[in-house]
């Protein structure tokens, strides 16, 4: 109960900072996502109240943008570019190798592999972002090395 209360207080605090700012709803959601690793459902009504919106409108915004999620990412997040320049540079092979390593590609062994559409590293494709850090000319070896550096134990 006390934890729930402190969450409510913290959410309210974050949202209040963005009331009146340009794009305040999205700015609040971004700040919440960064701090909590997701947007707890509780935030919907708090945002709705503070921005004088309906909860449906707030949910509409949350579901529209790829950066907002309802659940926390487990373990290390590997974002692999799925767009054309990376396709031309063989990102499919990298993805396949990662799936083989991380067994299925989704949330196993503490790694979540996600598609991203363009990281702006198209001249040194394929591109990836591991634990928030950019990797150009990405291959499975470099991605695994970065995962290890971020604290993952990769079985060989």
């Amino acid at each position: 109960m006390s934890q729930n209360l402190s969450q409510t207080l913290r959410l309210t605090e974050i949202i209040s900072e963005h009331v009146g700012a340009v794009g305040g709803v999205i700015a609040s959601l971004r700040a919440i996502q960064e701090e909590f690793g997701c947007v707890p459902e509780e935030a919907d009504l708090l945002i709705a109240d503070l921005f004088n919106l309906s909860r449906a409108e707030v949910r509409g915004v949350i579901s529209f943008y790829a950066d907002f999620s309802r659940t926390r990412v487990e373990g290390i997040l590997v974002r692999l570019c799925a767009a054309e320049a990376c396709q031309a540079a063989g990102v499919q092979t990298v993805r396949k190798e990662l799936e083989d390593t991380f067994d299925g590609g989704s949330t196993t062994m503490g790694v979540t592999v996600e598609d991203v559409y363009c990281l702006g590293l198209c001249s040194v494709a394929p591109a990836a972002m591991v634990d928030g850090r950019l990797i150009g000319r990405a291959d499975a070896v470099r991605i695994k090395a970065r995962c290890s550096a971020a604290g993952l134990e990769v079985a060989e």
Binding site: G23, Y65, A83, Y117, L121, S123, A125
Partner: protein
């Protein structure tokens, strides 16, 4: 003891993605160990991306390059630099490298040379000349200069910038805005990112000039969330600009305030479309708005708003500093000035090549980019992002300018070229175009929202051999509906990659026995 070594190393995303930060740390550590005194200036990138991380050293006023340098090579390189400078990875004076020497750098002139976060460095290299000129001109004269220069929107649509400026300028309102579209989501493009990371004051200067000309006093940079380094650089640059009085109460001259804020998006390709960008900036779903009213009259919060791509605004300071005639003399026909072409995908020498319009694809891909990285023959280039055409090598001699590209069913777009070798399957690429549209459609227009999903299904049926002729007819019909029935380019232009692929590479569009590409 030797004299201090002055080193330059990019802070650009590409360089960092290849280990520039680790190299910087290793250089400092080994310099201490070897007792060498060094200064490292973090710059933008020169755009020679196959050489990144490219370390440069100043020798008798000339910058000599070493690249690509791994962190393990730091000690080795440092030893060489203390001696006569010779090293296996030495690429000689950087500005003599043909890739750089053959460019016309009007926009990227400072990128890679100066410290992007030093306003003094910026001014010492011609920065603020355009702003100072604009401060002595009447708003209508500035608009005329932009119109006369022939500058067109660099985001993709190619609309004459001067007409937008005039419209916003003449609109009466209590508040007007300048909004920068830095939602550079097209695969194969990174020019906006590079200039924001490598010369951020240039964008701020362009925005302030736009403010003076249109009467806008607030500017927003809508930046995509996939660009964290650009975000850091821009925010630091803005803070320094306020500290130095470049922004704030007298930014546009005594009594002419101008404020700038960065707004980070939340992962939606569609927000690169100007009206959905404005909705997003208001904190709403990034759904497209119907036009009219045009944003120049009713934009952000219903106020007159000048929405421009990053490169468009970055072209403005030079036009004001050197005059519209100077600018207009570059390029060809109605495509004046320069375009930063971005060589991407499967390319040996990838990077940024700024040139006047009129350069050919052949020159860009084969002469400058040196063909594919895999060494296999080039089969196609997709120009201008996910909504751009796939062109065959038989059209590689066409000059790159707005009119010629349009006449050939393609577009310059934002100047990105994605090169594919002969292993590409164009039916796959056509399918992907629909898949991407289905993923990123804002959902407002039915032909785009539903049509893209149907497009994937039709191609899958075609591939599996289910009445291929009929599928072809359905696909043509579907494309027609999408073009005619979508408010914006997402639905309206997704048919371009699809139909260009079918037109130029019909041999790829045939049934195969494999069904491994069926939707998940």
């Amino acid at each position: 003891m030797t004299k201090r070594l002055r080193l330059f190393l990019p802070l650009d995303s590409v360089a960092i993605s290849l280990g520039a930060d680790e190299l910087a740390v290793a250089l400092v550590r080994t310099a201490e160990e070897q007792g060498v005194e060094i200064d490292i200036v973090r710059t933008g990138s020169r755009g020679l991306h196959w050489l990144e991380p490219l370390l440069e050293v100043e020798r008798n006023g000339t910058r000599v390059g070493y690249g690509p340098i791994d962190e393990q090579e730091a000690g080795d390189v440092l030893t060489a630099l203390v001696a006569d400078g010779s090293h296996d990875k030495c690429v000689g004076p950087v500005e003599e490298i043909p890739f750089l020497k053959n460019q016309t750098r009007l926009i990227f002139g400072r990128c890679g040379i100066t410290d992007p976060l030093s306003l003094r460095d910026y001014q010492n290299h011609g920065g603020l000349d355009g702003l100072h000129a604009a401060q002595t001109m009447r708003p209508s004269t500035i608009c005329e200069a932009v119109l006369d220069s022939g500058l067109r929107g660099r985001g993709g649509a190619g609309f004459p910038a001067g007409i937008k400026w005039k419209t916003v300028s003449e609109a009466a309102a209590d508040q007007k805005y300048v909004v920068v579209n830095a939602d550079e989501g097209d695969s194969g493009t990174f020019a906006d990112r590079m200039i924001m990371e490598g010369d951020p004051f240039l964008l701020l200067e362009g925005m302030i000039i736009a403010g003076i000309a249109t009467g806008a006093t607030r500017g927003y940079i809508y930046l995509r969330s996939e660009y964290p380094i650009a975000d850091d650089v821009l925010k630091t640059a803005i803070r320094r600009a306020y500290d130095e009085g470049m922004l704030g109460a007298d930014a546009g001259g005594p009594g002419h305030p101008f404020d700038i804020e960065v707004f980070v998006g939340a992962g939606a390709y569609i927000c690169g479309e100007e009206t959905s960008l404005l909705n997003s900036l208001e904190g709403k779903r990034g759904e497209v708005r119907a036009k009219p009213p045009i944003p120049a009259l009713e934009g952000l919060y219903g106020k007159p708003t000048l929405v421009h791509n990053v490169i468009t605004l970055c072209s403005v300071p030079l036009i004001l500093a050197k005059g519209s005639t100077y600018y207009r003399d570059f390029g060809m026909g109605r495509s004046t000035g320069t375009m930063p072409f971005q060589l991407a995908g499967n390319i040996k020498h990838g990077g940024l090549f700024e040139a006047g319009f009129g350069v050919t694809l052949n020159q860009l891909v084969n002469d400058i980019g040196c063909g594919t990285r895999t060494g296999r023959p080039v089969r196609t280039v997709q120009i201008g992002g996910p909504l751009g055409a796939y062109l065959p090598t038989s059209l590689f001699d066409l000059p790159m300018d707005y009119e010629t590209m349009l006449a050939n069913g393609a577009g310059v777009g934002h100047g990105g070229l994605v090169v594919f070798d002969d292993t590409v399957d164009l039916m796959n690429q056509a399918r992907y175009a629909f898949e991407f549209c289905a993923e990123e459609s804002c959902g407002k227009c039915t032909p785009c929202r539903i049509g893209a999903v149907r497009g994937v299904e039709v191609i899958d049926r075609w591939r599996s051999g289910e009445e291929p002729e009929q599928q072809r007819a359905v696909l043509d019909d579907l494309c027609e509906v999408m073009v005619d029935g979508s408010l914006c380019a997402m639905g309206g232009m997704t048919p371009i990659p699809v139909q260009s692929a079918i037109k130029h590479f019909p041999e790829d569009f045939k049934p195969t026995k494999q069904t491994n590409l069926a939707a998940e």
